[in-house]
């Protein structure tokens, strides 16, 4: 067996499929993106090299700036609202035991099971000023007139609520699994020492969950950056780009505005931001682990 593994052709044949997939499905498209980012390619006809023009334009593009800001806002929303809540709910669920645990776990996870298209249309109806649920509730409480939840000023917050709500179950489930994997002996020892629920949560649950939190937060940031489907279906970035996100803006520029080169430049900047975010997060978590 050992001989087999030191046989170079065998090693090659084992590594090759993965390597090929990486080369042609990941690396080659990225390289092509970098190339097209330097052209004025419209998606048809000839591509002309134009140097850094696309990148220079990006800096003056207010819609791109807005979409970056919105992606950042979403990432903050995920980290500061969605995840603390998810950890708390997971810890409470763990304490519930019995039937209730299963039922609540299921309820919290339901939004993740429903298709994104359905979610988007569901919320479109909830937010509708004429027949939407929210306005009817407001009316029942005596609010006069109609509230425009998706107006230029309100839209981004309304969209953030949907996205945070939609991803909540997924984050919670991972935290829940993490908590379940903590050795019960630790809790037993803590209760013998007289620790209350809060101390146990802060001193045992949270520290033991560090690797899970690291993965979850990284995934949350990446999903905030690549947010596309829900926004595309809910507002398509409108009104006037107020709910624009990077991935959706990339799509609009490349495939609707026939600015394929510009779209690729956005893609390249997007990759760089994703890489930087991951490196930063790794550094932060590593420092913490060492400390």
């Amino acid at each position: 067996m050992k001989k087999l593994y030191s046989n170079k052709p065998v090693i090659l044949s084992l590594v090759l499929p993965g390597l090929l997939v990486f080369l042609f499905a990941v690396l080659a498209p990225i390289c092509l993106s970098v190339y097209y980012g330097f052209t004025d390619y419209s998606g048809m006809g000839e591509a002309r090299l134009i140097g850094f023009d696309n990148y220079a334009n990006l800096f003056h593009d207010s819609a791109f700036g807005r979409s970056l800001k919105n992606s950042l806002l979403l990432a903050i929303g995920f980290i500061c609202i969605q995840h603390p809540l998810a950890i708390l709910v997971a810890a409470v669920l763990d304490k519930l035991q019995g039937k209730a645990e299963g039922i609540f776990r299921c309820i919290y996870f339901i939004p993740n099971v429903i298709s994104v298209a359905v979610i988007a249309y569901l919320w479109k109806f909830i937010y509708n000023p004429d027949f939407g649920l929210l306005n009817n509730i407001a009316k029942a409480f005596g609010h006069p007139g109609k509230i425009n939840w998706l107006s230029q000023q309100n839209a981004i917050w309304s969209v953030l609520i949907v996205l945070i709500w939609h991803g909540f179950g997924w984050g919670m489930l991972i935290y829940y699994t993490g908590i379940k994997n903590i050795d019960p002996v630790l809790y037993e020892a803590a209760s013998i020492d007289g620790a209350n629920w809060w101390t146990t949560f802060m001193r045992i649950t949270l520290p033991m969950m560090k690797p899970v939190i690291q993965i979850n937060v990284t995934m949350a940031i990446i999903s905030a950056l690549k947010q596309m489907e829900t926004v595309y279906l809910l507002t398509n970035g409108g009104p006037n780009n107020s709910t624009q996100f990077v991935a959706n803006y990339l799509y609009q520029q490349a495939f609707k505005a026939f600015k394929y080169g510009y779209g690729n430049a956005i893609g390249v900047v997007f990759i760089i931001i994703c890489v930087l975010a991951t490196v930063t997060l790794n550094t932060i978590f590593k420092d913490k682990q060492e400390a």
Binding site: L27, M44, A63, P129, Q152, T235, G238, C274
Partner: protein, 457 residues
């Protein structure tokens, strides 16, 4: 450190590949639907060819048709399918395979096809925002204009499909911008069809006072509002509209007084509550439902929605009372009531590199024989074609159909392409987004005009 960077790179790559994966989901669903309808079509084709077995021994030809009409059982899609079936019956050696996608998905895939070889017959739009890039890429076959002299195309309707006086496609419809209104609601409340924009504004005030939305507007998509702006401009600039807009697009400068005034009127109208609350984020269906449910008194949309009068899903008391009027005249404007915002948008073309180009052009010409697209379209209430339809009046047309026919017949001038489709697609994308900002008051008129000007450069 090196390891960290590698990990980070891998994470980045993963994100990109996930993004690619996500993007394609929607498409593949739509595509699979179209494949299903293809197979059905093919079954029928096979049945047809067996029925006509032996009728012709010509070589087998397959024409691929790429269409933006996925609904093959209603409206325009049904008309297209009827003609395809007839053509295959008449030419047993020809098989026509249809691939149909919704407009947005269609345009995306059209571009992919343009890079790697197009289907033989394709749907196109005779407007600069779509056609300019396509013609620059040289993917469409030139047609011989003289072939169509006796096809009774409406004068000027072929213009949008030409470049350097060469014809590359044929128009399917004539679209007119309209205010649909509920006649019964108007009568019950003593409201009258406005003759001037002043009257329209005061009418909207009265309707609002009655607790009803005056005009249902699909502002979420951007283009209906751009068409609305076009309509206002036509009433201000009259027959100069096309000239003013094409100059503005060429120079990237939209500060012409007519454009400024039109935009200001749009802003004032939106500010005065002409449209429903939240119009700038609501889509086509939502806006139309407001009107067809009786929650809005008017609906601003193109003549292709005339089939509302035949739509069984709309309650009869509303469906039977739908009428239409065009944009009223504006005080001090050059446009008369008979100068209307109308254009010839969608149509068909043949691929330049088609293996079966001759047969594809033969099929295209067959579709446009006056008793095909025009006649069937009229009979199915699809709206107005780009050809003379007077010969096909059945006498059982809806009031709405007759009204719209009269509007076109009595038109003194026709505006041509709406403003959003007059420039490159980057301009189209910009104006359709910026117009939401200017109408809801978050962008000033000057900033709006500067932004759309910049998108032309």
């Amino acid at each position: 450190m090196k390891k960290k960077w590698t990990a980070a790179l891998l994470a980045g790559a993963m994100t990109v590949s996930m993004l690619v994966g996500c993007g394609s989901t929607g498409d593949s669903e739509t595509a699979s639907e179209s494949v299903q309808s293809d197979t059905k079509g093919q079954e029928k084709v096979e049945a047809d060819s067996t029925a006509n077995d032996g009728a012709s021994s010509d070589e087998e030809i397959t024409i691929k048709l790429f269409s933006n009409l996925p609904d093959r059982k209603n409206g325009q899609g049904l008309v297209e399918q009827m003609i395809i079936d007839e053509y295959m019956d008449a030419n047993p050696n020809v098989t026509i395979e249809v691939e149909a996608l919704d407009e947005e998905a269609y345009k995306t895939k059209f571009k992919a096809y343009a890079m790697n070889g197009m289907p033989d017959v394709v749907s196109i739009w005779g407007q600069p925002s779509f056609l300019d890039e396509v013609l620059d890429a040289g993917v469409l076959a030139e047609l011989n204009e003289e072939d169509y002299l006796d096809y009774s195309f409406i004068a000027g309707s072929l213009d949008g499909f030409k470049k350097d006086d060469k014809l590359y496609g044929l128009p399917r419809n004539t679209d007119i911008m309209l205010f649909y209104y509920n006649q019964k609601m108007f009568d019950d409340n003593g409201w009258k069809v406005p003759a001037t924009y002043e009257e329209l504004l005061s009418l909207c005030g009265d309707i609002q006072a009655a607790g009803i939305t005056p005009v249902a507007m699909d502002g979420g998509d951007g283009w209906p509002m751009a068409c609305f702006l076009t309509d206002i401009m036509v009433k201000i600039a009259g027959t100069d509209y096309a000239d003013i807009v094409s100059k503005a697009v060429a120079a990237g400068d939209f500060n012409a007084p007519e454009i400024q005034q039109a935009t200001q009127i749009l802003v004032q109208s939106a500010d005065a509550g002409m449209f429903q609350i939240g119009y700038d984020s609501q889509d086509y269906g939502t806006a139309m439902n407001l009107f067809t449910n009786g929650q809005a008194a008017m609906f601003c949309m193109g003549s292709w929605e005339c089939s509302m009068a035949l739509n069984e899903d709309i309650a009869p008391e509303i469906r039977d009372n739908i009428r239409a009027f065009t944009m009223p005249t504006i005080d001090g404007g050059k446009g008369k009531a008979s100068d209307i915002a109308a254009w010839n948008g969608g149509g068909y073309a043949v691929s330049a590199n088609s293996q079966v180009k001759d047969e594809a052009i033969k099929f295209l010409n067959y579709m446009y024989q006056p008793d095909k697209l025009s006649k069937y379209g009229w009979e199915n209430g699809v709206g107005l074609s780009a050809q003379d339809q007077t010969a096909y009046l059945t006498g059982s047309e809806t009031e709405l159909q007759k009204q719209v026919m009269d509007i076109l017949k009595n038109a003194g001038s026709i505006s041509g392409t709406p403003i959003n489709d007059c420039g490159p697609s980057a301009f189209k994308t910009a104006i359709e987004s910026e117009i939401q900002g200017v109408s809801n008051g978050s962008t000033s008129v000057d900033d709006f005009l500067a932004a759309i000007g910049a998108a032309c450069k």
